[in-house]
Symmetry: C2
Subunit: 309 residues, 2 copies
């Protein structure tokens, strides 16, 4: 196991892993010791941040399985692994619900001025007189860009609030259209939505999806949220639009941005930045551990799950 701490798994799951393996070796993710341990290793359990490259695999003649404790696998050469018959599995989707609920948490926090409300009451001022500019989700146009597992849950919850929900996605999703979530072309979603949630998967095609042209099309006064990587957004163009002070932008992937990018966006009061806390619910953490250990158990039973290569 590379890069794990005791706290990463609940007692129950440590127990299940110990039941499986002949020998359990735990190494820090930057250990120079890794190669010396690999000759006898059958299964490698890897926490995000550890690099598993050709050299590592060439030093592991018995390696059959790489289990990732996370969704992203950019630091693992999964193609080379496949060429050597090594199966790599990740865990995905464990935080869909956590992220979808967080979308409404941050939208409502903003449109109902909660931070200011709590502060004012704490200071002993119980007047509502400066809060008549707050507003509702109901009947507003709510646009979801990317109707995958998270985007579709956001769209469903928005329906519960009585919003007029539209989406754009690479593929039409008839099961959601049947629920009243309307398909629109991307320009209409940008131009018409009062609330806009960016839920595309990050890949080469979607990088800088919100480019200068698209950012300028966003409706005046819209609340735009991005709980996906900020690689989807062209930061220069976003700063240009924020400068006009006619949209609100809320994000939580701040840990993956450079200090320069963050300082640039922090200048704008209409850009609200959270730590990456959309995915950190207890329920998601529980689900993550469960999927991780289940992947290993399923591999050993010959019924591999969540294979990525």
């Amino acid at each position: 196991m590379i890069g794990f701490n005791k706290d990463d798994l609940a007692q129950e799951y440590w127990g299940r892993i110990k039941n499986i393996t002949g020998e359990l070796v735990m190494l820090p993710k930057d250990s120079s010791d890794i190669l010396t341990h690999l000759s006898a290793t059958d299964c490698l359990l890897v926490k995000l941040g550890a690099t598993i490259d050709k050299e590592t695999m060439d030093n592991a003649p018995n390696l059959k399985y790489i289990g990732m404790f996370g969704t992203g696998y950019g630091r693992i050469d999964t193609e080379y692994a496949a060429s050597k018959g090594i199966i790599a599995c990740n865990i995905a989707g464990y935080s869909n619900e956590a992220v979808a609920e967080f979308a409404f948490a941050i939208i409502l926090e903003h449109i109902r001025a909660l931070e200011r409300g709590k502060k004012q009451a704490r200071e002993g001022n119980y007047s509502e007189s400066s809060f008549f500019n707050v507003y509702e989700i109901k009947s507003k146009k709510f646009g979801v860009i990317g109707l995958g597992k998270i985007g579709s849950r956001i769209a469903e919850i928005a329906l519960g609030f009585g919003a007029d929900v539209r989406y754009w996605s690479r593929a039409r999703k008839e099961e959601y259209e049947a629920k009243g979530i309307k398909h629109q072309d991307i320009d209409s979603v940008l131009k018409e939505s009062d609330f806009l949630s960016l839920n595309l998967t990050q890949n080469k095609e979607t990088e800088n999806f919100l480019n200068e042209e698209r950012i300028q099309k966003i409706k005046l006064g819209a609340v735009v949220i991005n709980l996906a990587p900020m690689e989807l957004v062209d930061i220069d163009s976003l700063a240009n639009r924020l400068e006009k002070n006619d949209i609100i932008f809320i994000l939580d992937h701040s840990d993956e941005m450079t200090p320069e990018q963050l300082n640039r966006l922090k200048k704008y009061k209409n850009c609200i930045i959270y730590p990456p806390i959309a995915y950190t619910t207890k329920e998601a953490t529980f689900e993550k551990q469960k999927m991780f250990v289940a992947n290993l158990e399923n591999f050993l039973k010959g019924s591999t799950t969540n294979k990525v290569n």
Copy 2:
């Protein structure tokens, strides 16, 4: 018109009132001048806080209509008005949606630690490491006490989040049960709910509804919200339970509480106090004005709406 300011109605509605009346007299709510103006008055439009008692009505021989710009009418002797053939109308329900959405705003704000998250990011700390104790609404037991117009919208939105929604109300509501909102006895709602929303109408029967016995039954760790008047809650008993630090209580009718009551509850970190901002949305304000002017217009057409006496 008693107690109104220019800002109370949008231009459109001032225009509609001026079209209706022969003469429009505006008086401050504490005006000693009121009685001198009443002899010629047919319709009296009253803002919350103004008192219309027997003496006032006895001085208004032509009075036929009292229109209240609000829901409560405790300061108007509506029975005496009825005895003189004076119709009194209020406006109600204009902020149902505003209040229902606010319920989710304050619940999510708390369970996702948003205030702390924003503050930490502002200070330049983008680590999620102290946020793994946050949690979700989905699959939790969500109890609504009082399934009226606001309570039923809260229950419906909770269904959208995938909560297990239960209610207790004086009367069974089959149309909501058909949607999957389960009826339970009050003790079970108190004992089992992870989230608990108090949505009873305030009257003599419901005052101190959350008494010592009931407050002690609330589930350990529950988040309890009250967006109705705090007369529903016995403050001593609430303080006793808050002292144990095993529930969270969130309220917004702080303006109606005494300084002593507020200072008592403010001591507890597990009691979150907002100004009365659940009802202040733009949409509710618009609806309020619309209903107020429509009541007057309907009365003049002989098709009275929202009569309270």
